[in-house]
């Protein structure tokens, strides 16, 4: 069926991010993903009679941090409300949430798609507690409840309906996750559910100013699936309109295997959650001093770092982008350049041998066995001519990874990798080579300068790779002139 009109897709996202606090939002239970079920459950988490919540101040700090990084306005007068509903994994029968009075208002996240930059406005960021987990497939007859997660602090980041395509949705989520990770606010792991995304989507004919009826797609478990869900759903909605069908407000889920969305329930009546201020928690004021302290604690974000890398350190735009893509990589890189001012070399080591090792071993940078200082020492060894880059990266580095406590220079000596650069040890080798290739020497003298590299290569071979190529070159030229 041919589409008769041009349509525009309008997308808004609600993203839940679990905060990296040590304990829960309203009690001292530890947050531990993957722990045995119901092992981090105090009487408070279990909502035993008589228990009361007590606020975790660290969570507020994290929420404000994210708000500041997203250019939000920070609300100083705050309180928590109760959102009342019944569900077995909600032990109190209400969720404590800032839903009605978010701590961060407005703000935006910048995205770049096909070279065009856009600011995606945020509606708000608010704090709330997570529910437990209902596990429906562990037992044939029963639903099992794990309350370890109940009470984990979350922030909900709600965008305005500013996104217009699946690619923008992808870019927004990528940027959002990068921010959360840069700020150390959330680990951003969508598979483990520490980052969860609901998509609100509608379509309208281009030029139309009113929004179409929206559909909500719940619980997308990867950025890629969010993108695919938008593609699939916008097509479904356009097809419905083209067929003259009426779109009803629905909550749907995305089946990644079949690439379809499935209706979960119609949303004709809005739920009545009977919000009211939680009388167990006193309202709290955020002092300017507190907000300033958080502002100062925010680490340099990607844009800022790129500016420094390309400016002060004269790295290419491309390298800077690659180095800053993950905060931890950028941090490691910056730790190297604390010990060396050869920024370009440091960048090459990061994007070359270090990156390869991480990829081959499927590890994150925090699992890289060598300290940044040792990598800086490798750079210095190469820079001073004691070691060639190739033997440093292909021979010394693997050795050091096996022996992380070894001293790079000592190891290079022990492993017999130090370059020969004194004429007295190189000259006999050069003489050997020139004698063996006497014919080629004649060709060189007749003007075939290209054979020089053959001589260098032969000398290298004889020195078992330790000859300093620069010095070798100079000595050869001298001899050939004679």
């Amino acid at each position: 069926m041919a589409v008769k009109h041009i349509y525009e897709t309008v997308i808004g996202l609600e993203v839940h991010a679990q905060l990296l606090t040590k304990s829960k939002l309203f009690c001292g239970d530890a947050i531990a993903y993957g722990a045995a079920p119901n092992t981090h459950v105090s009487p408070i988490t279990l909502a035993h009679p008589g228990t009361l919540p007590k606020m975790n101040k660290k969570a507020i700090e994290f929420a404000v941090k994210m708000g500041l990084a997203c250019h939000c306005e920070i609300e100083k007068n705050n309180y928590f409300a109760r959102k009342n509903y019944f569900y077995p994994d909600l032990p109190k029968g209400y969720q404590i949430s800032q839903h009605t009075t978010p701590v961060c208002k407005g703000g935006y996240i910048s995205i770049k798609v096909n070279g065009t930059e856009r600011k995606i406005r945020l509606n708000r960021i608010h704090m709330e507690e997570d529910a437990g987990k209902s596990i429906h497939d562990a037992d044939d007859a029963s639903t099992c409840i794990d309350l370890n997660r109940a009470g984990t602090p979350l922030i909900e980041i709600v965008s305005e309906p500013d996104l217009r395509s699946a690619d923008e949705t992808y870019a927004y989520l990528t940027e959002l996750r990068k921010l959360l990770r840069y700020l150390d606010v959330c680990d951003g792991n969508m598979e483990e559910g520490s980052l969860r995304c609901d998509v609100n989507i509608s379509v309208r004919r281009e030029g139309e100013t009113r929004l179409g009826t929206k559909v909500e797609i719940k619980n997308l478990n990867s950025i890629r699936n969010a993108k695919r869900a938008v593609e699939v759903e916008s097509k479904r909605l356009v097809d419905m309109i083209e067929r003259g069908e009426t779109i009803i407000q629905q909550t749907r889920s995305f089946d990644a295997d079949r690439s379809v969305t499935i209706a979960i329930r119609d949303k004709e009546d809005a739920d009545d959650y009977r919000y009211f201020a939680d009388p167990d928690l006193t309202p709290f004021l955020l002092e300017d001093e507190f907000i300033d302290r958080i502002r100062q604690s925010i680490p340099a974000l990607q844009e800022e770092r790129i500016k420094k890398y390309t400016g002060q350190w004269q790295l290419s735009e491309y390298d800077s982008q690659v180095l800053t893509e993950e905060k931890e990589i950028a941090d490691y890189f910056e730790a190297i350049v604390q010990h060396t001012s050869n920024y370009k070399a440091a960048s090459n080591w990061m994007t070359g041998p270090v990156r390869s090792w991480l990829n081959e071993n499927n590890k994150e940078i925090d699992a890289f066995p060598l300290s940044a200082q040792k990598v800086a020492e490798l750079i210095q060894l190469v820079e001073s001519g004691k070691l060639s880059f190739s033997s440093a990266s292909s021979r010394l580095l693997p050795y050091l990874i096996q022996h992380p406590s070894a001293q790079p220079e000592l190891a290079a000596i022990e492993q017999n990798l130090i370059q020969q650069s004194d004429a007295s040890s190189l000259e006999p080798l050069i003489d050997e080579v020139l004698t063996k290739y006497a014919e080629k020497v004649q060709e060189y003298k007749k003007g075939k300068k290209g054979v020089l590299s053959l001589f260098v290569g032969e000398v290298m071979k004889r020195s078992k790779g330790k000859a300093d190529p620069k010095v070798t070159n100079e000595l050869l030229l001298e001899k050939l002139k004679a």
């Binding site: 009487p43 279990l46 909502a47 035993h48 009679p49 008589g50 228990t51 009361l52 919540p53 007590k54 606020m55 109760r82 009342n84 019944f86 077995p88 032990p91 109190k92 029968g93 209400y94 409840i145 009545d272 009977r274 009211f276 939680d278 009388p279 167990d280 928690l281 006193t282």
Partner: protein, 480 residues
């Protein structure tokens, strides 16, 4: 035979060797058995109390340092968590539930060597004024067994009234300590909201609830308050202000500034005999040189409705946790789906009055009705708050009746909840405003039943409140 008059006296007798803690506990156990028909206790910790008493007797003989409440025999309302003990809030929905932790207040009593003798009957989830809404049956007033003891802490009041323990704890959300104290002829103290931690007190209405004390005299109440009050990491609403040594500073000779409301003393619902008695006391105090003055108070008609809107709203949410999923009663009926399961469990687990209040509270918070009820009631509360603040800028105390009438007959008002709610007219003010209040047993009605005088003071002014109450009890001793 052991006769209790005050904790101080008791401690003296212990020191002089005239009695032991074990003998005192044995005495109370016997009294409890004899008066079983009053139904004040839901459970008596017979063995445990005796055991604790013997340990304390040993400690005393070894001249080890003694706790402030050494051997004091205390009964607790069945809404207070006591580790490894059953806890039901007099409700079927908590059938068989054992608390896995202790309330902060209970911990503090035990640290000072109190002996907890048992759990006391009350209205289910502290909702009621007669102690007729209990899954464990009604409690009888020991002075006239055809009458109610008041509620919701009826068992706690009768336990002290009938000499079944030395002092007891209740909870006061809208008068649940002061009203039964009044109807039983004993002292009932509700401290300032936030003076005693609520951690471990089963919530009825969180912004109103406060643990309260029943005693025969003021010094005993002062001592218990002193032990239980103060900051607690587990309650964000409790005050961090230091706790005064109430019990050792009760004597004071001062001319007080006392306010009263003509709207209250001339209210049509008030028993004329109570009105007359109170007016007599006010006149007498004036003649003794105190500054006694009427203050205009035009909010009286609004405070009971505001109270019921706000408390039921909070209750509807507070009681959501009793859902049959995690603990307590669960319907044995095989239900079709989750909603049916909740309905069946909660309909059978909660009693009628509790269900009524949950529904009322759910209604006033529902969209479309929220502003007309909940928001307006909050406005009334704010107005009252301001008004009370103004009054205490000029006065030390407000004197009010505790209840409009003496204890009524069992069953008399069960069919008329509205008139029952309206009887809370004099007690809900202190909870709405968060101020401390006490019912002091000063009077005897022509029917032979007791009634009290209610004194209210400014926030955290318990010391003055206890001092004036002590003075009143000395100056106006009840004729026996």
């Amino acid at each position: 035979m052991f006769e209790f008059s005050s904790i101080e006296q008791y401690h003296q007798s212990l020191q002089e060797g005239n009695i032991t803690c074990a003998e005192a506990v044995a005495h109370y156990l016997e009294q409890i058995k004899k008066t079983g028909r009053l139904n004040a206790f839901i459970e008596v910790y017979e063995e445990e109390a005796l055991q604790k008493a013997r340990e304390l007797d040993n400690q005393r003989r070894q001249a080890r340092p003694l706790g402030k409440l050494h051997g004091v025999v205390i009964g607790i309302k069945d809404v207070l968590c006591h580790k490894d003990h059953l806890l039901t809030a007099s409700s079927k929905i908590l059938e068989g539930f054992t608390s896995i932790y202790s309330a902060t207040a209970i911990e503090r009593l035990l640290t000072e060597d109190a002996i907890i003798i048992g759990r006391l009957n009350c209205d289910e989830f502290a909702m009621g004024s007669t102690n007729e809404n209990s899954a464990y049956g009604k409690v009888l007033n020991a002075l006239d067994e055809t009458r109610i003891p008041g509620g919701s802490s009826g068992g706690s009041a009768v336990a002290v009234q009938a000499g079944l323990c030395m002092v007891s704890l209740g909870s006061d959300t809208g008068g649940s300590v002061r009203q039964p104290a009044d109807l039983c002829g004993i002292v009932g103290l509700k401290p300032t909201y936030g003076r005693i931690s609520r951690y471990g007190l089963i919530a009825y209405a969180s912004s109103f609830d406060q643990i309260g004390i029943f005693s025969k005299n003021i010094p005993d109440a002062a001592l218990l308050l002193e032990v239980m009050a103060g900051a607690d990491d587990f309650d964000s609403t409790v005050s961090e202000r230091p706790v005064e040594q109430y019990s050792s500073s009760l004597t004071e000779n001062k001319k007080y500034r006392i306010a009263f409301f003509n709207e209250a003393l001339d209210h049509p619902s008030l028993d004329p005999e109570i009105s007359k008695a109170m007016k007599g006391t006010l006149e007498d105090l004036r003649q003794k040189g105190h500054n006694v003055q009427p203050v205009e108070f035009d909010l009286l008609e609004y405070i009971v409705p505001a109270y019921y809107v706000l408390t039921t709203a909070e209750a509807s949410s507070n009681l959501s946790r009793y859902d049959g999923i995690k603990y307590g009663y669960r319907t044995p009926v095989a239900t079709d789906g989750l909603t049916e399961f909740y309905k069946e469990t909660r309909s059978k687990g909660f009693g009628k009055e509790v269900r009524r209040r949950i529904m009322l509270g759910t209604f006033v918070l529902s969209s479309g009705y929220y502003d007309a009820y909940f928001t307006r009631a909050q406005k009334v509360r704010k107005l009252l708050y301001e008004k009370i603040k103004l009054i205490f800028n000029q006065f030390d105390f407000i004197f009010l009746p505790t209840t409009p009438a003496i204890a009524f007959r069992i069953g008399e008002k069960m069919t008329d909840p509205i008139s029952m709610y309206l009887a809370d007219i004099y007690t809900v003010m202190a909870n709405l405003a968060g101020i401390p209040a006490i019912s002091v047993p000063l009077y005897t009605h022509s029917s032979g039943m007791p009634f009290g005088l209610q004194v209210l003071s400014g926030r955290f002014n318990e010391l003055s409140l206890l001092r004036v109450s002590n003075k009143l009890m000395e100056q106006y001793p009840k004729q026996k």
